[in-house]
């Protein structure tokens, strides 16, 4: 199938995603990833810590672990869809970062993303595909933050590329 041979124009892909996202907005709510990831964190922490998790108020007051939270399944769907796409187009293979510096950057980057999402109550997806199109004030605050952050991140990245 042609679809699995050529790279799809991202403008077409994103226009299709936008239309689907409008349906999601009407049915349950706009596309988001951070909330589902937080719930997964809670569920994993519960699996490890058991009842001890209740001693951390965040998991009682803000996010009570609940496997029936729809946002979790968006993320699992993305993992599944990407896997199917990669296998069908013969692009699935294990890629392992080679240098230690890459592992360090990814670790720091991952931690900053996790802390950032929770501090903001939103992730980049709800910023660009939820809050801002709803003209929520939080979307504008988040966009100014992410632009400044991406700029600082790019400066660091450039320094590392040059060194």
């Amino acid at each position: 199938m042609e679809f699995f041979k050529k790279t799809l124009d991202p403008v077409i892909a994103l226009a299709a995603i936008a239309i689907l996202d409008i349906f999601m907005f009407l049915i349950v709510g706009a596309w988001t990833v951070g909330g589902g990831e937080t719930m997964m964190t809670g569920l994993m922490a519960q699996a490890v810590l058991g009842d001890d998790l209740e001693r951390i108020p965040f998991w009682n007051i803000v996010f009570k672990p609940d496997a029936g939270y729809w946002k979790i399944y968006i993320s699992l769907g993305m993992l599944f869809g990407a896997f199917v796409g990669a296998v069908a187009s013969k692009e699935f293979y294990l890629r392992v970062p080679r240098r230690l510096s890459e592992w360090v950057l990814i670790t720091i980057g991952g931690l900053l993303m996790g802390v950032g999402i929770r501090l903001a109550f939103v992730c980049n997806v709800s910023t660009f595909f939820g809050l801002t199109p709803e003209m929520n004030l939080g979307g504008y605050l988040a966009i100014s933050g992410i632009l400044a952050g991406a700029w600082v991140g790019s400066l660091i990245y450039k320094k590392i590329l040059e060194s």
Binding site: F4, A16, I19
Partner: protein
């Protein structure tokens, strides 16, 4: 809708999104990073087009009282949180979407980024449990609370109520601004590509600027 139905709809939506993002190599991180670092706008343009469609769609349905907009107070924490996120996504070379999509393609680095996103979230839950900031959704009032650096709640719906003008009017204004940015990017691309193209044409016939397919390896 039942819980099972919601989860099923979310899974189907996610699967299609994952497939489309995998096939198009769209990346939100690249949309910002490449524009800033390499003056390459392949992903930026796609992001802007999606935002234009969504703005008209969301505000259009909000005008007639349909849809499920996100509802929580916002404040300085959105700005600071996404600032940290912005640094993190460039360093990790992936955002929330691409960590999932690249994990699905077998990228171990993306799985590692995802794992540490979870760790970061758990660490934050420990900080939060000490100082209880930003305020929990349950204690939000919708009004500004300057002590907690919260500005309350405002979106296209509140604008519609306040000014008596349909939300979609504000949406059209926002979409026009996004379109103006999109047009400026296209013009800029043409201006930079034209001289380069004529210079390299005999050799390869391919524009010298980097396309998204050649996004630097993370």
């Amino acid at each position: 809708m039942s819980i099972l139905g919601e989860c099923l709809v979310a899974f189907v939506f996610g699967s299609v999104v994952g497939l489309l993002v995998q096939r198009s190599r769209f990346c939100n991180t690249a949309a910002l990073r490449d524009a800033m670092l390499f003056k390459s706008y392949r992903n930026t343009k796609a992001l802007l087009v999606a935002m234009m469609i969504l703005t008209i769609g969301f505000t259009g349905f909000i005008s007639i009282g349909e849809g499920n907009p996100m509802h929580f107070d916002v404040g300085l924490n959105q700005m600071v949180g996404l600032f940290l996120f912005g640094i993190g996504m460039v360093l990790a070379g992936a955002c929330t979407v691409s960590t999932w999509v690249k994990s699905g393609e077998g990228n171990v680095g993306a799985m590692w980024a995802l794992l540490f996103t979870f760790v970061g979230m758990f660490l934050f839950s420990l900080f939060w449990s000490v100082n209880y900031w930003p305020p929990a959704p349950a204690s939000m009032t919708g009004e500004p609370n300057l002590e907690a650096l919260q500005l309350g709640f405002a979106n296209a719906e509140t604008l519609q109520e306040k000014f008596g003008i349909p939300a979609v009017v504000f949406g059209i204004i926002q979409a026009s601004v996004l379109f103006a940015i999109y047009r400026a990017i296209v013009r800029r691309e043409r201006a930079t590509q034209a001289p380069q193209k004529s210079a390299v044409q005999p050799a390869a016939g391919k524009p010298a600027t980097m396309t998204g397919d050649e996004v630097p390896a993370e």
